[in-house]
């Protein structure tokens, strides 16, 4: 039995077109997986069904041996923190501080601990100077950082990042990635939903969705050896690997460049 166990999961909005088709997926405790796929491949729908926000047409979801049903939804949600793509979808507080506190309040954190955590996580995401501001005065990227701080503060066992970096500049993004690495070291289970392969390559395992089905599921090293897998699922490899794959290896020098580009990509 895995920590997260999804069996034969299907989902449809209309009863006609299936958004998810027979998804079976296991995730071990402390694992870091990336779910990749083009727009409309079903990535976010999968995240929402795991949280019990959408009800599957068939199939089961079990987390930490709890079967997801109407009366267990709350127990399961306590274990999962999710950061959505658009921070406006998760703003509730009057001030940044209230907003970071919201998730913790729902989990009944003691007041003192909550205040410490607000300061700690605001610092982590570089928003300490904004605690008393109204979220509406923040830029898109700043809002995203606040949303992330609020979820991190809940210290859930599982963290889902659903295209969470789409509104961040490259440096804010790098900071977040550093922090996710820390969470991973602490044993948090991480599910990253993205179509950015560079981001996905930080994970141990890649799950590629295509048209609502699992197209590939494997260790990143194994999948990267077959660049056509990515091309066939409308994903773009990092520039270094794309150049490497297209270089004509007609000479020793060019072979050396290819090898160098692979090394370069791994080192990034």
């Amino acid at each position: 039995m895995s920590y997260i166990d999804i069996k034969d999961l299907s989902f449809t909005y209309t009863g006609k077109r299936m958004i998810l088709k027979d998804i079976s997926l296991s995730v071990e405790k402390g694992e870091w997986i990336a779910i990749l796929g083009h727009n409309g491949s079903g990535k976010s729908t999968l995240a929402k069904t795991i949280l019990g926000l959408l009800e599957p047409a068939s199939g089961t979801i079990e987390i930490d041996s709890i079967l997801l049903k109407e009366d267990t939804t709350y127990d399961i949600r306590k274990k999962i923190g999710i950061v959505f793509q658009n921070p406006d979808n998760q703003f509730v507080g009057v001030t940044v501080k209230d907003d970071i506190a919201f998730g913790m309040e729902n989990l009944c954190f003691p007041q003192k601990e909550m205040l410490e955590k607000i300061n700690f996580y605001a610092e982590k995401v570089g928003m300490s100077d904004f605690l008393d501001k109204e979220p509406s005065q923040l830029s898109g990227g700043q809002k995203q950082r606040v949303a992330i701080a609020g979820i991190l503060a809940m210290q859930t066992e599982i963290m889902i990042f659903d295209e969470a970096t789409s509104m961040l500049d490259p440096f804010a993004r790098e900071d977040l990635m550093k922090y996710i690495k820390e969470l991973h070291r602490e044993g948090i289970t991480i599910i990253m939903i993205t179509h950015d392969i560079e981001e996905a390559l930080l994970a141990d395992r890649l799950v590629i969705l295509k048209d609502g089905m699992i197209f590939k599921n494997g260790l990143k090293e194994d999948l990267l050896a077959h660049p056509e897998i990515f091309e066939n699922s409308f994903l773009e490899l990092p520039m270094a690997l794309r150049i490497a794959n297209h270089l004509f290896a007609g000479s020793e020098e060019l072979k050396a460049v290819k090898d160098f580009l692979w090394e370069y990509n791994l080192g990034k």
């Binding site: 658009n86 100077d129 008393d132 923040l138 830029s139 509104m167 520039m239 270089l247």
Partner: protein
Amino acid sequence: MGIQFREVSYRYPSGSINFYQAISNINLTINEKDEFIALVGHTGSGKSTLAQHMNALIFPTLGEVEIFGSVVSKKRNKKIKYNDLRKHVGLVFQFPEYQLFEETVEKDIMFGPMNFKVKHDEAEALAKKALFLVGLDESYLKRNPFNLSGGEKKRVSIAGILALDPDILVLDEPTSGLDPAGKKQLMELFTSIQKNTGKTIIVITHDMDLVYEFASRVIVLNSGELVFDGTPEKLFHRDDLKNYSLDYPETIQVLRAVKTHFGKDINIYKKTMTEAVLEIERAMKL
């Protein structure tokens, strides 16, 4: 005509006196025709604030913005018809697809023109034309916008602004949330709208690869100040982009690494993967 910023500063109204200045002392001219401008800068650098000045959604705290001949400053001028002025500059917000609300694509696109008191028949014609400009055919008109894919919704919402026939189109992070293919398609769409209509297009983005490949001019904001205004070529030849929290395009980064490692004479300023491949093959043969 076009838009001129003269020593424009903006500070968000707030209880705290220390609240940061969103933009400060901006001087800038946007031509009304034939520009494809990328507006870049780190999170919170003032990009969206600057954009909202372009159609008087917010008023400068200091300085003035001249928008197609009307001068907008802190004090509201009763002689200016702000709604008329907003017809000149169409603003597409972040995640515009969340703002769709009508039951058909056609009604949604017509909503803007109808609001500006355009007659029903005329609005219908404008909707058709706008839909065509964003690369969708007439079969979409009667469809429910909520059943469209993310990329299609984005297109419909952009068509809603194009139907107002603005002279300048400003898009705030239009490519965020799209996959790489979707991003490219959208930028190609803007290029073709720009070429076909001559309208100036301003795109706010964090994606330097797109800036390098598509923009004709880049404006860089850093902590509210304008720190660069010029061609992408000139920007990426600078060696201090880190100070502005900007990355170099991926092609440049990779080619620079190859050049340093192999000590070959490689021209690192290539915009696409194919150009980069050919350049490496050329240089390694020497």
